[in-house]
Structure formats: C-alpha cells, structure tokens
C-alpha cells in the first residue's frame, strides 16, 4: 500500500470486560472517534483481543477497505503483537496500527468517570492522528555464520569452547598468554571439595587442544571486530613465538640450555625464575615454548647466543618470526577474559612489598602448589615453617577507596588456605574477617569444618600490619593489629606470615576489548550484561555473550555454569541459522544531511558511519537499535527513526492537549 493512498481508519474501543467499560464510557469514546477525520468506522466491543474481536478488525479491513487501525484497549506491552498479527493476516502491513492505552493509563488509575472518558477520547484521538502518518515497515532475515569466537582461555573460555564444539560448531579460541589454563591452572586445591585443580583442569586443556571443532590461537590477541550479530569479522594478531609450532616436539632442551635464567616467573607470581625461552608451567597447552623477546639475548640485547637454536633437534627456533594477522568469520562471540588479583601495594597499612612475609593469595596459591617455587612446601623466605599465620580478608574489597564490591571468592579461598595450612604445617591460623560469606553449595559446611579444625576466627578488619613488636622475643615477626569486634579489644598479634586475601578486578585489557566489541563496562570495569537477572550472559550487543569473571567476580562452579549458559545462547543463535533485523531503526536522509557527524558521536552502538565521498552519515542497519539519539541530536532533521518520526510523534502530540 503506497503512502499516497487516502487513509481509511478503523477505531476499536475495548470494554475489557468490566475493566475499561464501566469507568470509561466506551460508546461515547467510539462515537467521538467516529467524528474524527479519515475514520471510516468506530466500534466498541467486549474483548477486542478475543478471536471474535480480532475477526471484527480483519473483516472490516477486507470489507470496508481500511488501511489504518487503532485499538483503544490495554497497554501495547500487552497486546500490540496480537493486533499487529491480526492486521497482518488481513493483508495489511502490521505497522499500519496504533494502540491507545485506556486501561492501565485510564480506567485503572482515574477516580472520576467523566475525567476517564475525556482522557480516553484524547488518547484515542491522538492514536488516530498518529496512525495517519504511519508507514509500512519490514524486517529482513540474514543468515548466521555457523562458527564462533571465544576470547580468553581460562576455565570459562575453555568450557564455553568445549560446549559449543560438542554441539558441532566450529570454535576459535583466542588466548593472549602462551598457554590456556588461566588462573585456575595456578591453583592447587579448589574449595569446598578440595579437588586438585590440575586433576580436573588438565584433561579439559587437552580436550580443547585435541577437539576437532576447536582451533586454538594462543599468544594471540583480538585486534579488530567488525560486522554484527551472525556476521562478525574478527582480526586476530598472533604474536611471534619465535618457535615453529609444527616442528617443536616440546622436549624442553631449549629451556635447559637458555643462559638467561633469572627472569621473574609470571606464573609463579614472581616467587621463582624462568628462562627467556619458556613455557609458563609444565602442563602448558600447547606444550610449545615462547621466546620472551625482551629478555632474550639475541632478540632483546642483539647479542650472540642462540643456544636454544643450536640444541634444538627439529630446528624449531625461528628468530625471524613476525606477527601474523588472521581474519575469522564468526556468527557469535563469547568474551571470557576473566580477572586479575588486586595489587595490594597501594594498600599502605598492610606493608605488602615492605615486609617479605606478607603474601598475596595468588602468591600463596603458588607456595602451596606442588609445581610451585617451593614444590608445595608452605615455608617462609628463610625456609622455615611458620608457626602462626594470619589471613586477612577483604583486602581491597568492600572498600570505597578501592573496590566497593565484595569479591565473592576470598572468604572461601581464605578458609581453604587455613585448612591446607593446618593440614600441611600444623601452624596456628588466624582469620581476620568482617563477615564470613559462604553462600554456595557445601560452603557453610566447609566453614564449619575449618572451624572444627581449630582455625581461629577474629571478627575485625585488620587496621595495619607492622614489624613493630612489644615483646623483644617477637623481634623479626610481624604484628597484625585489629579490633576483635566481638570481644571489643585491640588485638596485636605477632605472626610469622600474613596472607592478604586480595579481591578481584577486571583483567587488564578488558577496556580495550570492550571498546572493540562495543560492550559497555560498569563503574567497576566489569562487562555489563543485558539484564542482571533475565539475560545474565547476553550483552546489549546482539550476538556477543559473557562468560566467567569478566562480568563480575565468580567462583569456579558459577564460572563454569555461566560459561555453559553463554555457550547455550551462542548455540541457540547459530542453530537458528537466521537473524531477523529490527524494523524500527534509524535512517539518515542523504539529501538533508549536512555531514556534521553529530549523530556519529551520539550513537552508543557505533552504528553510524560516514560516507566520505558523499559527505553524509550512513546508518549501519544491522547495528542500529532504534534508540533515536541520532534523531534528537541531528541539527538538520535528516536522521529519524522509523515508526518514531517527527510527523508521527507530533501528530500524536497535537491531539493530546
């Protein structure tokens, strides 16, 4: 139906049983509507949404040649779809329809019957005035590329990748470090069941490597993301490893021969050394070393060495490697970039960095790990076993000066440490906590177990850690100062070792990835989910999903569950095969556009580009959400949102007052 056809409008006023009718004089409203310009028919009926009600509309469209329909009934959030379908089934474009909400906004909220009727008349007249300007709109179906990208190879990313791969889809897993595994690979035991992290993790890492549907890109980073739901083009940069992955057998000779041996090990949190050519840990996947170009004698210092190359039997060392760029076409993206532990150096009263026996929780994880710097012995820097250890909760968390949120995992891992310390060393363990938070399956039970093991719990946030001692016998030990709030006394406890239970913050680089993906971050830097309760793994960017700690602090069970949830959403999208584009999107009239680019700045979705040749802004229909920020910003009135055009809104306005 063309725009020029003379509008013939039908108006239908619903009684909604007793919900609208007695309060609003529906006959009066219908009669009033009948007097309005272009209205061909105006009726009232008991239930417009019932089948007879819908049939009445359909018949009128056919028999009276209506080309616009207004229904005055309930909220459009309730039945707009119902009536659009009715209009569509009569052969009319479903957008030639407008609703007036005379139930939620009139009959249910107005005392006086006269007032209610007057308001209902005004709302109906406004809808008639608006529908006059309606235009036919359509949606499009676009095919979805049946592969996906997972960014981040920790437990979240691995789980998402495996679930999608098992569903039969091609998965690209991109990890920035030389090996997948993430933080979990650093842990020894996991709460509350104390499974060995390596035992449950290593098989998954191997599965990822060997899965026919997973392509693993380690030591790689996402550089660019283009496209839209179902059709993303992602550029990935593979950093040079200087080791040929095809030739390397993972024998490890190169690492033995490397003369640069005093480089602080990132994986061991700086508690041990590694060589310049290295795998971060023995079970690394892939088991192919990388050369750290900064510390390598050949690459970093430009001097003669090449010991690794000399001894490599398969000639896998390649100092000439350059970064490689790959383009991946995917239908969905899962971000699983995780977290980093808060660096407590700036939490001055805790003396981290000043006192050697103050450890972060991640450092302690490594001390406790059989593959760690002490082969799992919980010893102090002097090699002795501590007699008394303090564990300080909420370091950097629940503190408006640092991280205002609860990091959710610290209470539980602190108690895991206490248990392991009791078990391995018999040391006296003191937990300084504000509130013990153990809301998970078997968590409270674990708390009770640790209590029974003789761990001392003091309710009080530690005020400071100092090496000042009152008793000369304690010289060389640390003193933990806190109020024991339950006994109302200041505790000055001499200890041998302090573990700071540091909180979680978003991984470095999350900001950059957020920008590339168009996914916003909350005030604390975590990626924002579409809906906190009902869409926790989706993002406002269609086709991009979240898994694990990049969305907020989480323990392993929650991370794995969310990773599977994100995979589920991605699989649903890929298996649907098609995506429907939205009808209510923005358009920019190239004849009116003055090329000022105001709309480009206003668009929160980077959905507007600029055509340099024509000097006009152009909307990318696939990215536009129809929010109208561009239209409201545009000084030349060239931008408008379909179904919310100036004429439509002003038409409605005119009849309202």
């Amino acid at each position: 139906m063309s725009d020029q056809t003379k509008p013939r409008i039908g108006v239908y006023v619903c009684h909604c049983g007793m919900n609208i009718a007695p309060k609003v004089n529906v006959e009066d409203v219908a009669a009033h509507a009948g007097t309005l310009a272009h209205v061909v028919v105006a009726r009232d009926y008991k239930f417009m949404c019932s089948n007879p009600g819908q049939d009445m509309i359909i018949n009128d469209i056919k028999s009276l040649g209506l080309n616009r329909v207004v229904v005055a009934s309930c909220s459009p959030r309730m039945h707009e779809k119902t009536f659009r379908n009715a209009v569509k089934s009569a052969g009319l474009n479903p957008y030639y329809f407008q609703m007036a909400n005379v139930r939620e906004q009139v009959s249910w909220v107005t005392h006086d019957s006269m007032d209610a009727t007057e308001k209902a008349k005004a709302l109906t007249a406004a809808a008639v005035s608006r529908v006059f300007f309606h235009q036919p709109l359509s949606t499009r179906e676009v095919p979805v590329i049946k592969s996906m990208l997972v960014v981040g190879g920790g437990i979240a990313g691995m789980q998402s990748a495996l679930t999608c791969a098992n569903a039969g889809y091609q998965v690209y897993l991109v990890e920035r470090e030389p090996s997948i595994g993430g933080h979990m690979a650093k842990f020894d035991k996991t709460f509350p069941t104390l499974d060995c992290a390596a035992c449950i993790m290593t098989p998954k890492m191997v599965d990822v490597l060997q899965h026919p549907n997973i392509t693993l890109h380690t030591y790689s980073e996402v550089e660019k993301v283009e496209g839209f739901i179902g059709n993303f083009q992602v550029t990935v940069k593979k950093k040079p490893r200087y080791v040929d992955m095809e030739k390397c057998t993972g024998c490890g000779t190169c690492m033995e021969k490397c003369p640069s041996k005093k480089i602080s090990s990132e994986f061991n949190e700086g508690l041990s050394f590694r060589t310049a050519i290295f795998t971060p840990f023995p079970q690394a996947v892939p088991n192919v070393p990388v050369i750290d170009a900064v510390n390598c004698i050949v690459l970093g210092k430009n001097k003669k060495c090449g010991a690794c190359a000399k001894f490599c039997e398969t000639k896998a060392i390649d100092f000439e490697q350059k970064p490689e760029f790959l383009t991946l076409d995917v239908g969905a993206i899962i971000a699983a970039t995780g977290f980093q532990a808060v660096n407590p150096t700036h939490l001055e009263p805790y003396g981290y960095g000043r006192f050697p026996e103050v450890y972060t929780s991640l450092e302690f994880e490594r001390l406790n790990n059989a593959t760690g710097p002490t082969s799992g012995k919980m010893v102090m820097k002097n090699g002795q076993i501590p007699e008394r250890v303090a564990i300080v909760h909420c370091v950097g968390s629940r503190d408006v000066r640092h991280k205002k949120y609860c990091s959710r995992v610290c209470c539980m891992y602190s108690m895991k440490f206490a248990h392991l310390l009791r078990e391995k060393t018999g040391a006296e363990v003191w937990e300084f906590y504000i509130d013990v938070r153990s809301p998970g399956k078997l968590y409270e039970e674990f708390y009770n177990r640790v209590q029974e093991e003789g761990v001392r719990f003091v309710r009080g946030r530690v005020a400071e850690i100092t090496d000042m001692t009152d008793d000369p016998n304690d010289k060389g030990r640390l003193t933990v100062v806190a109020e024991s709030t339950l006994t109302r006394r200041t505790v000055r406890l001499p200890v041998d070792m302090v573990i700071l239970s540091v909180g979680l913050e978003p991984a470095p680089g999350a900001e950059d990835l957020g920008r590339l993906l168009g996914v916003s971050r909350d005030g604390d830097g975590w990626f924002t989910e579409l809906h906190a309760k009902l869409a926790p793994v989706s993002t406002p960017m269609n086709g991009i999903f979240l898994a694990g700690c990049c969305q907020g602090p989480k323990d392993i069970p929650d991370t794995v569950a969310q990773a599977m949830g994100a995979a589920g959403e991605a699989i649903a999208l890929l298996s649907r095969g098609m995506v429907t584009t939205q009808a209510e999107i923005s358009h920019i009239d190239p004849d009116l556009c003055i090329g000022c680019k105001s709309c480009i700045g206003a668009c929160a979705y980077s959905a507007i580009g600029f055509d340099e040749a024509r000097r006009v802004a152009v909307v990318n229909e696939a990215l536009c959400k129809g929010c109208g920020s561009c239209a409201a910003t545009c000084p030349s009135s060239s931008a408008s949102v379909d179904h919310f055009t100036d004429r439509q809104i002003m038409g409605e306005l005119e009849r309202l007052v």
Partner: protein, 182 residues
C-alpha cells in the same frame, strides 16, 4: 514524630548520615591509639546512634579520648569522617553538658578555652595550672617535668597574650550559639 523513637540530638551534624554506611568492621578502633580507654569503640558509638541509644552516646567517653591522629579516618573503608565526627560529638556533648563526670579532657578543654578567651594565646603552664585546680594529682605528676623545663629555661614565666585580649572575649561572644546562652 514516631512515638517509638526519641529525638536524635546528632541530626545537626552535617556528615552524620555517613555513619549509616558503617559495616562495623573495627578498622577505626583497630587504628586508634587510645581505643582501649574508650567505653565504646567509635563504630559502637555509630551503632548506638543508629539504634537510637542517644543517651548512651551522649554520655560516652569515646570522643574525649580521640587524639585527632586521623588514622581511623584515612583507613575507614566506607570513608566515614570518623575524626571529624568526634569533634562534632564533643561540640554537642559540651553544649548539652553530658560529658562523663570523671572525664578529665573536658576540664582540660575548658581550661584551654578560657585562656584563649582571656589572652588569645596559650601558655602551657597556665593551662596546666588552671586544669590543676580540678585535678591536683595530674598537676603534681607534672612537677618533676616542670622542674626540668625551668632548668632549661623553657617555662614561660609570664602568660603569653595578644595585644588586644578584649577582642577575644568579643570573638567568643560573637560565636556563642543561642542554645549555649540558655
């Protein structure tokens, strides 16, 4: 007004609402050099006020043991201006005259304040003398120290004063709150 609650005497304090954020973590008391002398930890004082136990709060010695070292304030994880609140509590307690009877600091403050009012400047020995009228034992304890000071010519024989001490009486008068006069 709700029958169940008594009027809160602390509402005039500008930052008083910040205590609602207190999570009772004890960082303030743990950081306080004299919290062991206090009948209530600073956080407890906040809790008392939140629970409507205003009389207990007004009679607490806690603000009087505050040394103004600000350790609590820079460490409070909820950024409650603890030290500033202690000053504000003292101001209200002084006006309502509810300071504990055996508390020495209010007398010290009074002596200090009276000398400023009279002279504009403080002479430590005069503050001690005035305070000593009420607390002779404390004054006596300081005598050996005073002797050492005299030997080192560090005790002022004459009270320091500004040239126009009357203007300080005037300043005190001008800043008197209407409630104080009643």
């Amino acid at each position: 007004m709700n029958k169940a609650s008594k009027p809160n005497p602390f509402t005039s304090i500008s930052d008083i609402a910040t205590i609602n954020a207190c999570i009772q973590c004890g960082t303030c008391s743990g950081s306080c050099p004299l919290s062991d002398q206090m009948d209530h930890a600073p956080r407890e004082l906040f809790a008392l006020i939140r629970e409507g136990e205003y009389d207990m709060a007004l009679k607490s010695n806690t603000p009087w043991f505050c040394v103004s070292c600000y350790a609590c304030m820079v460490r409070c994880p909820k950024e409650i201006p603890v030290t500033d609140l202690m000053y504000a509590f003292k101001e209200i307690i002084t006006r309502k005259r509810t300071a504990p009877k055996n508390q020495k600091m209010p007398d010290m403050y009074r002596a200090f304040s009276r000398i400023i009012k009279a002279k504009g400047r403080i002479t430590e020995s005069y503050v001690m003398a005035l305070y000593g009228v009420k607390h002779p034992l404390d004054a006596l304890k300081n005598i050996p120290l005073a002797v050492k000071m005299i030997l080192r010519k560090r005790l002022e024989p004459k009270a320091l004063s500004v040239s126009d001490p009357e203007s300080f009486a005037r300043l005190f008068e001008l800043t008197e709150k209407s409630e104080d006069k009643a």
